[in-house]
Symmetry: C2
């Protein structure tokens, strides 16, 4: 029976840390503020926006929702971002991706100031994750994985860690953050040969394959700590990238889906906004 | 008896590729130009400068050597870099690192334009390596490792690759470049536990530990391809990070030291200058 690494307690702890910073900022007349830029009305985006807004409210972070029409021009979108870059009352900016096809996501990524990039999409943030320089912010989901390990006292130092997936939002940055914590990190992906032999050998396993129940019993071994980043749906029921029923009797500890990594992500986002407000007002 | 992966042939092939681009640029009045900025007179820097200058000459790349006094001020150095950023006749800039202690290397790194950063030190270049976006240029030594694998027809796809070392000039970028070639990459470092069990399992091994003969027989296994990035000296004799005498009867192929990776690095640098000239004159 694996220990369940529930996200709620981790999120609470992060929120408390964020809240603790609010009074000192308030005394100086600063309210940490997140601008969320959404183009169109995708259900996913709206759901995330609502969740993030609630979390911001509870912590004491102000939210500015900017909704642009589905057919906004490239220059219209870039102007919005330039305005937010200049706005001293906005500390963090989240832009919902992917953008509609007629817009150039790369140009948008380049336009945003790294110091306001609380979701880790700019070159500055990604270089910061790669180098450990502290520039910008790590992608929230990748950092959420590490926050869970930290909260539950999993020491990464010298451990064999395996990350399944090499996306820029989770896999690659998670690998860098694990390496910064002195784990020996292997990254697996769709071209990996005999993946089970590699994941079985992991002491810490981060599953970010983006495929429902992709990691079954043959990928797992006794005592592992498993962080399941997957959010998939089978017949309307949410499940992760790890076959939970197969994993639970075997591994040492595992995050549930739902109630695991996803629960922590918005708290990391909010903590980035507070941190951005601190950094911008030294 | 391992196959020797000599660098000279690889360097020649890269130089030929670079040379092939020169006439078309010349027709448009463009001479690819590298500015090398050196503070003080460290022997290492001067040796590299001489080597790179010769290589540039042979390919048809112009060199501009800028030597600043050991006690140059931070603003003096930054002004030099700003001038080079603005100079449309300079396509690539190499700044010798580390700088004297009174200078802020981080600020210098931030000042340089990524499009002129032929040595891969800016956030733009490092984010480019991390994301595969093509922004900036990869650090030359890391790319030299990949050029050697390519030249000798070593297919990385699906292979187990292990990189020993996690520096920003070699280990980390080499891991990202290997991953971009679809290898399954593990990065080892000083905090790795039982490193031999990991390196032995590699099909491709890149040694960038920075320690003479650190990888002996117990780290190696039959048939491996070994790229030795180390440049160390024992009793005045150059040696790599791999114990060559122990490796040579065991592994499938290995780069010699000297005559391996080091031989390729300046050719990669020169190719970056030519590429920068192309990109800046589309």
């Amino acid at each position: 029976m694996a220990t369940l690494l529930k996200g709620a307690a981790v999120a609470d702890a992060i929120n408390e840390r964020s809240k603790a910073d609010i009074p000192a900022l308030a005394e100086r007349g600063i309210t940490p503020t997140l601008a969320m830029v959404r183009v169109g009305s995708r259900g996913d985006d709206i759901a995330y926006e609502n969740g993030a807004s609630k979390r911001c409210d509870k912590v004491g972070v102000k939210v500015k929702s900017i909704v642009l029409p589905e057919d906004v021009t490239q220059s219209g979108l870039l102007e919005t971002i330039e305005d937010l870059n200049r706005d001293r009352l906005v500390h963090g900016v989240l832009i919902f991706m992917p953008l509609p096809k007629h817009l150039d996501g790369e140009a948008v990524r380049r336009a945003l100031l790294p110091e306001k990039d609380v979701d880790g999409i700019t070159s500055g943030s990604l270089a910061g994750v790669f180098t450990g320089s502290g520039e910008g912010f790590a992608p929230c989901t990748a950092q959420a994985c590490i926050e869970i390990l930290d909260y539950y006292g999993v020491d990464c130092r010298g451990k064999r860690a395996v990350v399944v997936g090499r996306s820029l939002v989770v896999g690659k940055p998670a690998a860098m953050l694990l390496m910064a914590k002195n784990a020996t990190v292997t990254t697996c992906h769709t071209k990996t040969v005999d993946m089970p032999s590699i994941t079985k050998n992991a002491e810490i396993l981060i599953a970010a394959a983006g495929k429902a129940n992709a990691l079954g019993a043959e990928y797992l071994s006794r005592g592992q700590t498993v962080i399941d980043v997957g959010i998939n749906f089978i017949d309307g029921k949410m499940c992760g990238d790890v076959d939970f029923a197969a994993a639970e009797p075997v591994v040492g500890a595992i995050t549930p889906v739902p109630g695991g990594v996803g629960t922590v992500t918005t708290s990391v986002l909010v903590s980035h906004v507070v941190e951005a407000a601190n950094r911008q007002n030294i």
